[in-house]
Symmetry: C2
Subunit: 115 residues, 2 copies
Protein backbone atom coordinates (compact mmCIF):
# COMPACT_ATOMS: atom_id res chain seq x y z
CA UNK A 1 0.00 0.00 0.00
CA UNK A 2 1.16 3.48 -0.81
CA UNK A 3 0.96 6.35 1.68
CA UNK A 4 -0.68 9.44 0.15
CA UNK A 5 -0.80 12.95 1.61
CA UNK A 6 -2.69 15.78 -0.06
CA UNK A 7 -3.76 19.35 0.71
CA UNK A 8 -6.74 21.56 -0.04
CA UNK A 9 -7.66 25.01 1.25
CA UNK A 10 -10.97 25.45 3.09
CA UNK A 11 -12.47 28.94 3.10
CA UNK A 12 -11.70 30.42 6.52
CA UNK A 13 -15.32 31.60 6.92
CA UNK A 14 -16.65 28.04 6.40
CA UNK A 15 -14.44 26.09 8.84
CA UNK A 16 -17.14 25.42 11.42
CA UNK A 17 -19.60 24.11 8.88
CA UNK A 18 -16.89 22.05 7.20
CA UNK A 19 -16.13 20.40 10.55
CA UNK A 20 -19.80 19.73 11.24
CA UNK A 21 -20.36 18.17 7.83
CA UNK A 22 -17.43 15.80 8.38
CA UNK A 23 -18.32 14.75 11.91
CA UNK A 24 -20.76 12.17 10.54
CA UNK A 25 -20.35 11.64 6.81
CA UNK A 26 -23.18 9.87 4.95
CA UNK A 27 -22.96 6.10 5.50
CA UNK A 28 -23.18 5.41 1.76
CA UNK A 29 -20.24 7.77 1.18
CA UNK A 30 -18.20 5.92 3.84
CA UNK A 31 -18.98 2.55 2.26
CA UNK A 32 -18.18 3.85 -1.22
CA UNK A 33 -14.75 5.07 -0.07
CA UNK A 34 -14.00 1.75 1.60
CA UNK A 35 -15.09 -0.21 -1.46
CA UNK A 36 -13.09 2.07 -3.78
CA UNK A 37 -9.83 1.28 -1.97
CA UNK A 38 -9.40 4.26 0.39
CA UNK A 39 -7.84 2.91 3.60
CA UNK A 40 -6.97 4.53 6.94
CA UNK A 41 -8.23 7.79 5.46
CA UNK A 42 -8.14 10.87 7.69
CA UNK A 43 -8.64 14.60 7.20
CA UNK A 44 -6.88 17.15 9.42
CA UNK A 45 -7.73 20.86 9.55
CA UNK A 46 -5.46 23.75 10.54
CA UNK A 47 -6.94 26.95 11.99
CA UNK A 48 -6.20 28.90 8.79
CA UNK A 49 -8.14 26.42 6.64
CA UNK A 50 -5.29 24.23 5.45
CA UNK A 51 -6.80 20.77 5.04
CA UNK A 52 -4.49 17.74 4.99
CA UNK A 53 -5.63 14.33 3.79
CA UNK A 54 -3.77 11.10 4.54
CA UNK A 55 -4.67 7.66 3.24
CA UNK A 56 -3.27 4.31 2.26
CA UNK A 57 -4.19 2.93 -1.14
CA UNK A 58 -2.87 0.50 -3.70
CA UNK A 59 -3.27 3.07 -6.49
CA UNK A 60 -4.48 6.64 -5.92
CA UNK A 61 -5.61 7.21 -9.52
CA UNK A 62 -7.64 3.99 -9.42
CA UNK A 63 -9.11 4.90 -6.01
CA UNK A 64 -10.12 8.33 -7.34
CA UNK A 65 -11.59 6.85 -10.52
CA UNK A 66 -13.56 4.28 -8.54
CA UNK A 67 -15.13 7.07 -6.45
CA UNK A 68 -15.72 9.19 -9.54
CA UNK A 69 -17.86 6.35 -10.90
CA UNK A 70 -20.26 6.45 -7.95
CA UNK A 71 -23.41 8.54 -7.69
CA UNK A 72 -22.87 9.27 -4.02
CA UNK A 73 -19.49 10.89 -4.73
CA UNK A 74 -21.05 13.25 -7.29
CA UNK A 75 -23.66 14.31 -4.73
CA UNK A 76 -21.10 14.70 -1.95
CA UNK A 77 -18.53 16.63 -4.00
CA UNK A 78 -21.18 18.97 -5.40
CA UNK A 79 -22.05 19.94 -1.82
CA UNK A 80 -18.40 20.24 -0.78
CA UNK A 81 -17.12 22.34 -3.70
CA UNK A 82 -18.24 25.64 -2.17
CA UNK A 83 -16.13 25.09 0.93
CA UNK A 84 -12.82 25.27 -0.94
CA UNK A 85 -10.59 28.00 -2.33
CA UNK A 86 -8.45 27.84 -5.44
CA UNK A 87 -10.05 24.93 -7.24
CA UNK A 88 -9.96 25.61 -10.98
CA UNK A 89 -12.68 23.15 -11.87
CA UNK A 90 -14.49 23.04 -8.52
CA UNK A 91 -13.72 19.36 -7.96
CA UNK A 92 -12.16 18.87 -4.50
CA UNK A 93 -11.92 15.10 -5.04
CA UNK A 94 -9.76 15.50 -8.13
CA UNK A 95 -8.22 18.94 -7.57
CA UNK A 96 -6.20 18.33 -4.45
CA UNK A 97 -2.42 18.70 -4.39
CA UNK A 98 -0.43 15.57 -3.65
CA UNK A 99 2.76 16.01 -1.59
CA UNK A 100 6.01 14.07 -1.97
CA UNK A 101 6.94 11.67 0.78
CA UNK A 102 10.46 12.64 1.85
CA UNK A 103 10.79 10.39 4.91
CA UNK A 104 9.25 7.27 6.41
CA UNK A 105 10.56 5.83 9.64
CA UNK A 106 9.59 2.21 9.02
CA UNK A 107 11.09 2.14 5.52
CA UNK A 108 14.38 3.61 6.73
CA UNK A 109 14.56 1.27 9.73
CA UNK A 110 14.06 -1.62 7.33
CA UNK A 111 16.77 -0.24 5.04
CA UNK A 112 19.33 -0.31 7.85
CA UNK A 113 18.18 -3.87 8.59
CA UNK A 114 17.65 -3.06 12.22
CA UNK A 115 16.36 -5.78 14.50
Amino acid sequence: MKRVCFTLQVRPDRLDEYRRRHAAVWPDMLRALRDAGWHDYSLFLRDDGLLVGYLLTEDLAAAQAAMDATDVNSRWQAQMAEFFEGLDDGRPDLGFQVLDEVFNLDDQLEAIDDS
Copy 2:
Protein backbone atom coordinates in the same frame (compact mmCIF):
# COMPACT_ATOMS: atom_id res chain seq x y z
CA MET B 1 -2.84 4.72 19.09
CA LYS B 2 -3.61 8.30 18.22
CA ARG B 3 -3.16 9.71 14.71
CA VAL B 4 -1.16 12.95 14.73
CA CYS B 5 -0.69 15.38 11.85
CA PHE B 6 1.54 18.44 12.10
CA THR B 7 2.96 21.14 9.85
CA LEU B 8 6.18 23.12 9.59
CA GLN B 9 7.44 25.49 6.90
CA VAL B 10 10.73 24.70 5.17
CA ARG B 11 12.61 27.61 3.62
CA PRO B 12 11.92 27.47 -0.12
CA ASP B 13 15.61 27.93 -0.93
CA ARG B 14 16.57 24.87 1.17
CA LEU B 15 14.11 22.29 -0.17
CA ASP B 16 16.65 20.25 -2.11
CA GLU B 17 19.01 19.96 0.81
CA TYR B 18 16.14 19.17 3.18
CA ARG B 19 15.12 16.29 0.91
CA ARG B 20 18.68 15.01 0.69
CA ARG B 21 19.14 15.09 4.46
CA HIS B 22 15.97 13.05 4.96
CA ALA B 23 16.65 10.44 2.29
CA ALA B 24 18.83 8.52 4.76
CA VAL B 25 18.47 9.77 8.31
CA TRP B 26 21.15 8.73 10.83
CA PRO B 27 20.48 5.17 12.04
CA ASP B 28 20.73 6.20 15.69
CA MET B 29 18.09 8.89 15.06
CA LEU B 30 15.79 6.28 13.48
CA ARG B 31 16.24 3.91 16.43
CA ALA B 32 15.66 6.73 18.92
CA LEU B 33 12.36 7.66 17.26
CA ARG B 34 11.20 4.05 17.25
CA ASP B 35 12.17 3.57 20.89
CA ALA B 36 10.47 6.85 21.87
CA GLY B 37 7.11 5.70 20.52
CA TRP B 38 6.94 7.31 17.07
CA HIS B 39 5.16 4.84 14.78
CA ASP B 40 4.38 4.85 11.05
CA TYR B 41 6.03 8.28 10.93
CA SER B 42 6.22 10.01 7.55
CA LEU B 43 7.13 13.49 6.32
CA PHE B 44 5.60 14.93 3.15
CA LEU B 45 6.85 18.07 1.37
CA ARG B 46 4.89 20.43 -0.87
CA ASP B 47 6.66 22.44 -3.57
CA ASP B 48 6.22 25.69 -1.62
CA GLY B 49 7.94 24.27 1.47
CA LEU B 50 4.90 23.17 3.46
CA LEU B 51 6.03 20.12 5.42
CA VAL B 52 3.41 17.71 6.77
CA GLY B 53 4.21 15.10 9.39
CA TYR B 54 1.99 12.10 10.14
CA LEU B 55 2.54 9.56 12.88
CA LEU B 56 0.81 7.17 15.23
CA THR B 57 1.66 7.39 18.88
CA GLU B 58 0.16 6.53 22.25
CA ASP B 59 0.91 10.01 23.58
CA LEU B 60 2.46 12.79 21.51
CA ALA B 61 3.75 14.79 24.47
CA ALA B 62 5.41 11.68 25.90
CA ALA B 63 6.90 10.79 22.49
CA GLN B 64 8.30 14.31 22.15
CA ALA B 65 9.67 14.28 25.70
CA ALA B 66 11.31 10.89 25.13
CA MET B 67 13.10 12.25 22.06
CA ASP B 68 14.02 15.46 23.88
CA ALA B 69 15.86 13.32 26.43
CA THR B 70 18.19 11.81 23.81
CA ASP B 71 21.55 13.22 22.72
CA VAL B 72 20.99 12.27 19.10
CA ASN B 73 17.83 14.39 18.92
CA SER B 74 19.70 17.46 20.18
CA ARG B 75 22.34 16.97 17.50
CA TRP B 76 19.77 16.35 14.75
CA GLN B 77 17.48 19.26 15.66
CA ALA B 78 20.41 21.68 15.93
CA GLN B 79 21.27 20.84 12.32
CA MET B 80 17.64 21.01 11.15
CA ALA B 81 16.68 24.33 12.77
CA GLU B 82 18.13 26.45 9.97
CA PHE B 83 15.88 24.80 7.38
CA PHE B 84 12.65 26.16 8.88
CA GLU B 85 10.76 29.44 8.84
CA GLY B 86 8.68 30.94 11.61
CA LEU B 87 10.03 29.00 14.58
CA ASP B 88 10.11 31.29 17.60
CA ASP B 89 12.56 29.20 19.58
CA GLY B 90 14.28 27.41 16.69
CA ARG B 91 13.07 23.98 17.83
CA PRO B 92 11.41 22.16 14.93
CA ASP B 93 10.75 19.08 17.08
CA LEU B 94 8.74 21.07 19.62
CA GLY B 95 7.57 24.04 17.53
CA PHE B 96 5.41 22.30 14.97
CA GLN B 97 1.70 23.03 14.63
CA VAL B 98 -0.63 20.11 15.34
CA LEU B 99 -3.80 19.93 13.23
CA ASP B 100 -7.23 18.74 14.36
CA GLU B 101 -8.51 15.47 12.96
CA VAL B 102 -11.93 16.22 11.49
CA PHE B 103 -12.57 12.89 9.75
CA ASN B 104 -11.43 9.28 9.87
CA LEU B 105 -12.97 6.70 7.59
CA ASP B 106 -12.37 3.66 9.79
CA ASP B 107 -13.77 5.32 12.92
CA GLN B 108 -16.92 6.44 11.11
CA LEU B 109 -17.43 3.04 9.47
CA GLU B 110 -17.18 1.51 12.92
CA ALA B 111 -19.66 4.05 14.27
CA ILE B 112 -22.29 3.00 11.74
CA ASP B 113 -21.55 -0.60 12.73
CA ASP B 114 -21.06 -1.60 9.13
CA SER B 115 -20.12 -5.17 8.38
